[in-house]
């Protein structure tokens, strides 16, 4: 942690977040949630910052970041598409959804489009099983997907 970092408004905000958790017990995960909201992902610099400011060994921070599905360590496309592969979605044709997305975007799971617009990733059950098959783009959930609907939704995010 240094002054240069703190001049960056994102680090300054993270600094305030960490301060606000000063008296909380076991706040690492909650802090990382907020850090990812601020930075979009958790690169080594951010993990290091958290480690130093909270007095937690970097190995432990890294361990937590990589344990939970929710945290990301590489930058993502502008929009992140999470396709649900949970059981309820599986029986309603989740693999078709992945296939259609591959055709539309030219990328598979874990990849980002060349123009950095979209990252495709997979999740296990979004908890919206009633709408299966489901995908989530950024914070929005889209359900009962078919080809027409997927195309339509992607158009809204293009550009």
């Amino acid at each position: 942690m240094n002054d240069v970092q703190l001049k960056n408004p994102m680090y300054a905000e993270l600094d305030r977040v960490i301060d606000s958790y000063r008296d909380a017990k076991g706040p690492l995960i909650q802090v990382l949630h907020r850090a990812q909201e601020i930075f979009g992902y958790l690169p080594p610099e951010v993990q290091q910052f958290v480690s130093q400011r909270m007095g937690i060994p970097p190995s432990k921070v890294y361990g937590v970041v990589t344990f939970y599905n929710f945290f990301r360590t590489v930058p993502q496309g502008k929009h992140v598409i999470n396709v649900c592969l949970g059981t309820a979605c599986h029986v309603k044709g989740a693999d078709r959804v992945v296939e259609i997305l591959r055709e539309e975007l030219g990328i598979g799971i874990g990849q980002t489009t060349e123009d950095r617009q979209f990252t495709l990733s997979a999740v296990r059950c979004l908890g919206a099983c009633g709408l299966a098959p489901v995908m989530m783009i950024d914070e929005e959930v889209y359900g009962k997907l078919d080809r027409a609907k997927i195309k339509h939704v992607l158009q809204q995010y293009a550009s």
Binding site: G86, T87, V98, C125, C129, G130, L131, V141, K144
Partner: protein, 528 residues
């Protein structure tokens, strides 16, 4: 404010929000004003009744008329026809009780269900404390405090009620409470991680009736002597988190939480912890590690959390649905509770019915209700008039039940006799066209992905299971299936935590009932 003649309730929950529930709500407010009805008709928000995948749901009282799939465009018609002229809009109407109209019958038969924990879901505005109190919230708490019912008596009442944990294992709740070690500092943790795929019953309660959970937690905290409670909520449940936060604020502002609950010397407060997406964190000791801010590695048991739990202190972990049963039990007594369900599993159970059912949804029925009744009476049978093939009960860690199991009563003991489990109460209905092989591959992938990696048996074992089944599917033979079972059984013996012990159940049950389907399997469409 003078009482309204009619009440228009809009279900606001994750699914309906996506279908434009907010816009429909606005359209109702506008249209009602336009027709000059705003003195007579009130528009309010509520939680989910248990209807899912049907778009925006609107209920109009006092008639209790329920509309599904309502869009902004339908609103003027509903207002002018129903509210102005008293003629329901048949096109959108569904029946929630027994119904003459076959087409419309059966959406969960909400009005036919013996609802205890879902009683207020979809009836009250979950963001309004007064409404919750109006339907009886905090009465049990008040009784305990004013009549000075001792913590021990509360525990005894819960023991006598026979309530068993609804988080999966079915451990008697009162006994669990009575086993906590003595100590000044104890914790109560509500498990709202709800990670079992195909389950969203806890979300319904969190979103639809948050004060019921808070009251249950206060009573549990009082019984075991904990002053602090945590709710560990699945991170994706943003609406539920928001509503719980709001409800906790309201409870604090009204002395229902804090240092002096209802003016007494009893203290209790609740903090929310957001999960970060790891299935294993639903396991109680992994959950405790996660609350402590660590990786969610399960701990070795014993010692059980009741002895050494959160931060080393005695801790009780209970599921949302379990805690939602506490206030009614304290208020109405153990005898009353025992009038529902079976001798060894009293009460009701909430099920999430998904897959190929004609009307998927959430229902609450008595323990011991046969699967056949659940699927054919409450979920409308199989969609498109197809035949029933199987149901996966209990999520990924559950078992496949075929036709022969349709008449087994759904409760912990009867299912165990049938080598199945109730688990989280997820029921995935599969029609004749469903592929058990593909489904099992999906499940094994799930375990491989969610293995926490702490023990080698589960870390490599879950991966091996995927490899073996993949190999079988591409060019394998029956030996692979035997190997699959052997590995799963070994994992059941040797894994550190219940996650690695789980895959044997879906594998065994699938092979028991559908071995021939595996042997006939040819298609090699790899699932991703």
């Amino acid at each position: 404010m003078k009482p309204a003649r009619s009440l228009v309730l809009i279900e606001i929950e994750e699914d309906s929000l996506l279908a434009g529930a907010k816009a429909v709500e606005q359209a109702f407010s506008d249209a009602i004003k336009e027709q000059g009805l705003d003195q007579e008709v009130r528009v309010a928000e509520t939680g989910n009744l248990g209807i899912i995948g049907r778009g925006v749901v609107v209920v109009i009282y006092p008639e209790g008329t329920t509309y599904v799939g309502v869009t902004e465009a339908d609103v003027p018609e509903i207002v002018s026809e129903h509210l102005l002229k008293g003629r329901p809009v048949k096109r959108l109407q569904v029946c929630l009780g027994p119904c003459m109209d076959r087409e419309k019958a059966g959406i969960g038969l909400v009005r036919d269900q013996p609802r205890i924990v879902l009683k207020n879901c979809g009836i009250i505005d979950p963001e309004n404390l007064q409404e919750a109190i109006g339907v009886g919230a905090y009465q049990a708490l008040e009784r305990v405090l004013t009549e000075e019912i001792s913590p021990k008596s509360v525990i005894d009442e819960v023991i006598n009620s026979g309530l068993r944990g609804r988080g999966g294992a079915g451990f008697p709740t009162g006994k669990k409470w009575s086993f906590t070690a003595p100590g000044d500092e104890k914790y109560l943790v509500c498990n709202a991680d709800e990670g079992e795929p195909g389950t969203c019953k806890d979300r319904l309660i969190l979103e639809g009736d948050p004060h019921r959970l808070i009251e249950g937690m206060i009573l549990a905290g009082y019984a075991i002597g904990a002053k602090k409670g945590y709710i560990y909520i699945r991170g994706e449940y943003s609406l539920a988190i928001g509503r719980m936060e709001k409800a906790i604020e309201q409870a604090r502002a009204n002395d229902l939480l804090g240092e002096h609950i209802l003016g007494s010397d009893i203290a209790f407060d609740i903090e929310i912890k957001k999960g970060a997406g790891a299935y294993v964190c639903g396991e109680e000791t992994a959950l405790i590690e996660s609350i402590e801010g660590k990786r969610g590695y399960p701990r070795l048991k014993p010692p059980y959390p009741g002895q050494v739990g959160l931060r080393g202190k005695p801790t009780v972990v209970n599921n949302v649905e379990t805690l939602a049963n506490i206030a009614p039990i304290i208020l109405n007594g153990a005898e009353w509770f025992r009038s529902f369900g079976t001798e060894t599993c009293p009460g009701t159970k909430v099920y999430t019915i998904l897959g190929h059912a004609a009307t998927p949804g959430l229902i609450e029925v008595e323990m011991g209700t046969p699967l056949r009744e659940i699927i054919y009476k409450y979920a409308g049978g199989i969609r498109d008039g197809k035949g029933f093939k199987a149901a996966l009960i209990g999520g990924a860690a559950g078992a496949f039940v075929d036709e022969a199991g349709l008449d087994v009563g759904m409760d912990y003991d009867s299912l165990r006799d049938y080598s199945a489990v109730l688990g989280s109460g997820a029921i995935l209905v599969l029609d004749e066209d469903a592929s058990i092989v593909e489904l099992l591959r999906g499940i094994l992938n799930f375990f491989a992905h969610e293995s926490c990696g702490q023990c080698a048996t589960c870390r490599s074992g879950t991966g091996r299971l995927v490899d073996i089944l993949d190999r079988f599917c591409s060019d394998g033979n029956e030996d692979d299936l035997d190997l699959l079972l052997r590995v799963a059984r070994l994992m059941h013996e040797a894994s550190f935590c219940p996650l690695g012990q789980s895959p044997v159940l879906p594998i065994e049950s699938a092979l028991r009932a559908f071995k021939q389907e595996f042997l006939d399997y040819t298609d090699v469409s790899m699932p991703v």
